[in-house]
């Protein structure tokens, strides 16, 4: 059925999307307004700030003047006294004597004054009463003359604000107009065609391009010691530790100021109960952060590194692969287990927030060992096999939706917190390779 203009588009789940046409119109108006404001700002800046100074250089006529008087002009501003240099001069134009109090072209404007008294006084220094100096007058208004000309460099900074308005407005308007009236498919085709060609992204002979499947290079860049590839961790524990350390320092540093104030009040015999009550929850959060940091530190240092090597990569549905799991440290473990996990991750907008929901949709046990002791310098190593189920979905990555596969190692340590480390792997569709993996290094 033919559709006319709609205020609302189709409902997606519990969310109703707004009209694309109305949205585009709103965007176009917003960016056009920004553009107009920016242009107006730039024109005003040129008219009021740049052109007068340019005219002094290129339109004013040079002559000689006699300095009759010099003084520091003063006026009261909102923030105190303001100052400007004032030079009284006498000069002749076409046989007519002119008398004027002047300095530069901004002399009569508000910008002539500043709160910097020393700078205004220093500007008077080069002039001496009774001596002749060059000056420049406006041929169309000989009464207007200056004894100093020059461009004020800082004026160009004034154009940063309207300039950014113009850049954002023009860019946004162009983007909106390019999308205007175009279908989602046409926009997607335009975006795909405009994708930059990646440097070093060279098609290798015999290699099929697989749309929406993540790149392998991060995973296959590290060779293993016994099997073909050593798998990287999904995220380095170092970054987690660094983040926690920074959070601990920032939080507890801020809270410590209030703690010191409260302790001083106690020592002075005037306890501040309100302050004490106020800082207690903040102190509790600070302690929790420290505990969390220490736990992570223990996991990162005492537990020792976990290494996983695999006989082939990428994985294929129906393929069987050999796996080497190595765990170092000084550990008395209740259990060590490995499983192959598939996780869906969807990102969506709720109001102005972007939210991400993840769901583990497959958990395939690979290996489990119970009651084992690991000694320093003697890492625990075990070889096992991992099978990717036939018909399993391949890895998938788009802007808002992902399907990820990973090998997860979980260790339960006696008297310590359990640890879990994920090693991402990529699963290709069967059509992306000639045969399923056979498992040889």
């Amino acid at each position: 059925m033919a559709r006319n203009f709609r205020y609302f588009e189709k409902k997606r789940g519990h969310r109703r999307t707004g009209s694309r046409t109305l949205g585009s119109l709103g965007e176009a108006i917003f960016f056009a307004l920004l553009l107009v404001l920016g242009c107006a700002g730039i024109v005003a800046g040129f008219v009021w700030l740049v052109i007068p100074e340019w005219r002094v250089h290129h339109g004013f006529v040079e002559t000689t003047c006699l300095v009759l008087q010099k003084k520091l002009g003063e006026k009261e501003g909102d923030g105190g006294t303001l100052y400007r240099p004032e030079i009284q001069i006498e000069y002749e134009v076409h046989g007519i004597q002119h008398y004027r109090s002047t300095y530069d072209i901004n002399y009569d404007g508000a910008r002539a004054y500043s709160s910097d008294r020393d700078a205004a006084a220093a500007a008077l220094e080069p002039f001496e009463k009774g001596r002749a100096y060059p000056c420049w007058y406006d041929p169309s208004q000989p009464d207007v003359a200056v004894v100093v000309r020059g461009y004020q460099g800082w004026l160009w900074l004034v154009f940063l604000v309207p300039g950014s308005f113009v850049a954002i407005g023009a860019g946004g308007l162009l983007y909106t107009l390019l999308r205007w009236g175009k279908s989602a498919e046409r926009r997607a085709a335009m975006v795909q065609r405009a994708q930059p060609i990646e440097l070093f992204d060279i098609d290798r002979p015999g290699e099929t391009r697989l749309p929406n499947i993540p790149d392998l290079s991060d995973i296959t860049s590290s060779p293993g010691t016994k099997l073909a590839y050593r798998l990287p961790l999904s995220h380095s524990p170092g970054w987690t530790l660094l983040g926690l350390a920074a959070a601990c320092l920032l939080w507890n540093g801020s809270v410590s100021y209030f703690i010191v104030s409260a302790v001083r009040a106690y020592l002075a015999g005037q306890p501040d109960w309100l302050l004490t009550l106020f800082i207690l929850p903040f102190l509790a959060i600070g302690i929790a952060l420290v505990v969390c940091f220490v736990r992570q530190l223990v996991v990162a240092t005492a537990v020792g590194p976990t290494l996983v090597e695999i006989s082939d990569h990428p994985l294929l549905p129906g393929g069987e692969y050999r796996l080497l799991v190595s765990q170092s440290g000084r550990l008395n473990m209740r259990s060590l287990e490995v499983w192959l996990a598939c996780r869906e991750e969807a990102t969506y907008r709720q109001g102005t927030n972007a939210r991400t929901e993840t769901r583990q949709v497959r958990r395939l046990p690979v290996f489990r060992r119970e009651a084992l002791a690991i000694l320093p310098g003697e890492p625990f190593q075990a070889e096992c096999s991992v099978c990717v189920p036939a018909g399993a979905m391949h890895s998938f990555r788009a802007d808002h939706n992902e399907i990820d596969w990973s090998l997860v190692v979980r260790g339960e340590v006696v008297n310590r917190q359990a640890f879990e480390r994920a090693f991402p792997v990529i699963v290709h569709p069967l059509s992306g390779a000639s045969t399923p993996g056979s498992g040889g290094p």
């Binding site: 033919a2 559709r3 498919e185 997607a188 929406n212 991750e345 969506y348 769901r359 802007d399 808002h400």
Partner: protein, 126 residues
């Protein structure tokens, strides 16, 4: 008077198309004689459904535009054909679904649009 419509027909569609397989078919516009057609877009595309924002990508996109001289004759069926890519395959997950379809969009006068879709599955299995 019948409502304007687009009919899409795939040639001998299997239950599931395999990657690298050729997909072909034709589309026809019905009951649009009195309404001039400005343009017609044909896309073979995939999109996601589910919890997340929709990701849409086109595998093939053709546009016939009266302004560019590609006159659209609504009475004549138009054919399309493409070779399907190796991925992504159709998927029915818990919070993500991946769908494939042929979508035909006709742009009529006064900003009106006609859209029709023919879904199909892309998979490794037969």
């Amino acid at each position: 008077m019948n409502e304007p419509a687009i009919l899409i027909r795939l040639d001998d569609p299997p239950r599931t198309y395999r990657p690298g397989q050729s997909l072909s078919g034709q589309y026809r516009l019905e009951s649009v004689e009195g309404d001039p057609i400005r343009a017609v877009e044909v896309s073979v595309l995939r999109y996601t459904e589910g919890k997340g924002e929709q990701d849409l990508a086109v595998h093939e996109f053709w546009r016939r535009d009266n302004d560019s001289g590609d006159l659209v004759d609504p009475r004549r069926p138009e054919r399309f054909s493409t070779t399907l890519p190796p991925s992504p395959l159709s998927y029915d997950g818990q919070i993500i679904q991946i769908r494939w379809c042929v979508r035909v969009r006709a742009f009529l006068s006064r900003g009106r649009e006609l859209v029709a879709e023919k879904p199909f599955r892309l998979g490794d299995g037969a």
